[in-house]
Every structure is written in structure tokens, then in C-alpha cells.
Symmetry: C2
Subunit: 209 residues, 2 copies
């Protein structure tokens, strides 16, 4: 466990992903990662120039685990698979996925995902501009939904939450939400996501028919 040669780019990246997923992005730090690896913090800097470079490698590794589904006969079904693949990724690596969403630069491996989206829409017969716009729409929705999911935003209310929410509604004048409170508190994330995706797909169909 001690001495030379126990570190490597890969094992650091893997440990970082685990730490990120286990404790969340806010709790991640170079020092904790080093502690997990039983190593001095500065040892990490032999493999990555700085925290940002390490994070980038983690995100690259994350996106490489996305496996692009094979295209089928129905482009709508293809898109559903592509989108749900992203949600799956988010659930498997919630910490890393959140960081991915905050990251303000290209991750090379994400091109794979985007290529699949663009190709699917192109095959479906969308013209160039609509292809690009539809991809943006689908990715925006799917990724934002996935973040809400892993953040716990979409968890059903437990009784305590429900009461707190009801109280905060009572402070103002929100009759509609008040009447919908049970519906707002309930939540079936798969069905909720599918609702939104179906709406979008139905709307998209009209663009090429």
C-alpha cells in the first residue's frame, strides 16, 4: 500500500469518480481524494496539472461509459433510448453527472452521444437546422430532468415535506398550487419523464410531416 508505483492516472480517476458519487460534488476535494488513496495530496499533481484537469478526465471517463444504442426502425424509439441512456448514466454516477452539467467546456467523449442524436434525427428526415435545434431541445430537457432526478427534486413528498410545502403555500396566495398539492407531491419519475418526452416527440413529428 506504500511506496512507489501505487498510483496511476486511471486509478486516480476511478477513485475521484467514486468519491464524487459517494459524497457529492460539494464534498469533493483533492485532499480527501488523496486521503482515500492513502497518499499525500500533492502526489495527485504528478498525474494531473490541477483539479480542473482531473475533473475533465473524470467526465471523459463518465461519458465513455455511455453506450450508444443501435438504431432501430423507429426514430422516436431511438430517441427514447438515447435519452434514457443519459438518465441511466446520471443515476449510475450522480456526483459526476452533476459536475458534467456544470462543466463549461467540451468533453471529447460527449461528441459520441451528440453524434448519435444528430444522426437519428437526420435519418428521420429533419433538415439541418431543425436537426440541430431538435438535438438541443432533447438534450436540454433530458439532462435538466436527469439533474432534477438525482438532486432529489422529484422525490415524492414525505409527510414532513408536504406539511412544510403546504405552509409555505399558505403564506402567499396560491390557490391553484394549493389545489394541486397532492399531484405536485406525488412523483413517478419514469412516467413524468416519458410524458415530457412524448410531448416533445409529438411536437417534433409535426416538423417533418
Amino acid at each position: 500500500m506504500a511506496g512507489r508505483g501505487r498510483l496511476s492516472r486511471d486509478c486516480i480517476v476511478e477513485a475521484a469518480m467514486r468519491l464524487l458519487d459517494r459524497e457529492g460534488e460539494k464534498a469533493f476535494s483533492m485532499r480527501k481524494l488523496a486521503a482515500d488513496l492513502g497518499v499525500d495530496p500533492m502526489a495527485l499533481y504528478h498525474y494531473h496539472a490541477n483539479r480542473g484537469a482531473l475533473i475533465k478526465d473524470v467526465l471523459q471517463a463518465l461519458m465513455e461509459t455511455y453506450d450508444v444504442p443501435a438504431p432501430g426502425p423507429d426514430w422516436r424509439e431511438d430517441l427514447r433510448k438515447l435519452c434514457n441512456g443519459l438518465r441511466l448514466l446520471a443515476r449510475r454516477h450522480p456526483g459526476a453527472f452533476r459536475v458534467y452539467e456544470l462543466y463549461e467546456d467540451w468533453i471529447p467523449a460527449e461528441h459520441r452521444v451528440q453524434e448519435a442524436f444528430h444522426a437519428t434525427l437526420q435519418r428521420a428526415g429533419f433538415p439541418p437546422q431543425k436537426t440541430v435545434r431538435a438535438v438541443r431541445l432533447l438534450l436540454t430537457y433530458t439532462e435538466a430532468f436527469a439533474v432534477d432526478e438525482i438532486t432529489g427534486w422529484l422525490e415524492p413528498f414525505d409527510p414532513t415535506d408536504r406539511e412544510a410545502f403546504a405552509r409555505s403555500l399558505s403564506d402567499g396566495d396560491f390557490p391553484v398550487m394549493k389545489s394541486l398539492i397532492d399531484e405536485i407531491g406525488r412523483s413517478d419519475t419514469d412516467a413524468d419523464f416519458d410524458f415530457g418526452l412524448d410531448v416533445i416527440l409529438r411536437g417534433l413529428e409535426a416538423e417533418i410531416s
Copy 2:
């Protein structure tokens, strides 16, 4: 400029919002805020228990500046106004809006916005569950799009970016994106947003017809 009584909850919140918008969330700190106000960092803690409480007040102030548009005869038009109001908010306070998106708790003032969305859909004739789901869809899309907008993700490529992007596409095998590169680089955020919103609205119409 010195002495007692120069601070107040409001002036701290305003200064915090300015600092956030000017320098971005990453550069925000209690110490910089105190420096802006010409005051010892700890003075701020007389008005807010901690950084989190201050941020919450900033977000509350932010959401209070959203003015709910009056409902008109067409629910689709109402929704367009509601959504574009959020984009406007984001552009006016990019720093604060980003923090709002990251914030993992209810901001009382955001109920106002959500009430308006729910009410509009209810008026349009959506049943309870579809109302709630449609609101989630619209807010998810709009807020995520707004974040992309203020983050600069949607900026058109300048020549340097374009070349870097083209090069990163060449490293892998992305024929479709390569053929769409100009379309991807171009960007008219208003039109892009409207495309997505129209798709969603068209899809939603089918839910009540």
C-alpha cells in the same frame, strides 16, 4: 462611508447580487462582498446567519423581480410570456440566476412563478396530473435553456472556436456532426428557444384536444 449604520439587510443583498452578476458565482465570496461594502467580513454575519442564508435572500430578491404577466385569451401565448419572462430574468441577473438553478431548496418567491404556470395550464383545460407534468416540462426546458444562454454555451462560434471544434470532431468519427458544423456553430438564441417552445406547445395541444 465609515461608522455605524451604513449596513442593512437590503444593501447587503443588493451588493451581493451585483457582485454575483459582475464576477460570477465562482468568484463570489463573503470576503469580497465585505470588501465591496468597505466593511469587515464578519459584519455581514450580523444580518445573515451564514453565507447560505444570505444567498437565499439574494434568490428571494431575484425571484421577486419577476413580474407575472397578465393572462390573455390564448394559453399558448400566456405560456410564451411566462417562459420568456424567466429568460429575461436570467439575462438581467446571470450570476444570481445560475445560483438559483443550483439551489436545492424552495425559494418562497418562486411560488409566484409556478402558480402562474399552473393556473395558465389549468385555465387551458389540462387535468391536474397533466398540469403538473406540463409545468415541470416547461420549467425544465426554459430554465435549462436560460442557463445555457447565460453560460455562453449558445454563443455562435468565433473562428477560433470553430476550428477547435472541427479539430475535436476530426479526432473521432463523427460524420453527421461534421456535416452540420456550420449549423451547430450558428445560433440565434431567440429563434432556437422559440423552436423548442413551439414544439412543446404543439405537443401539449394534443393532450387536451
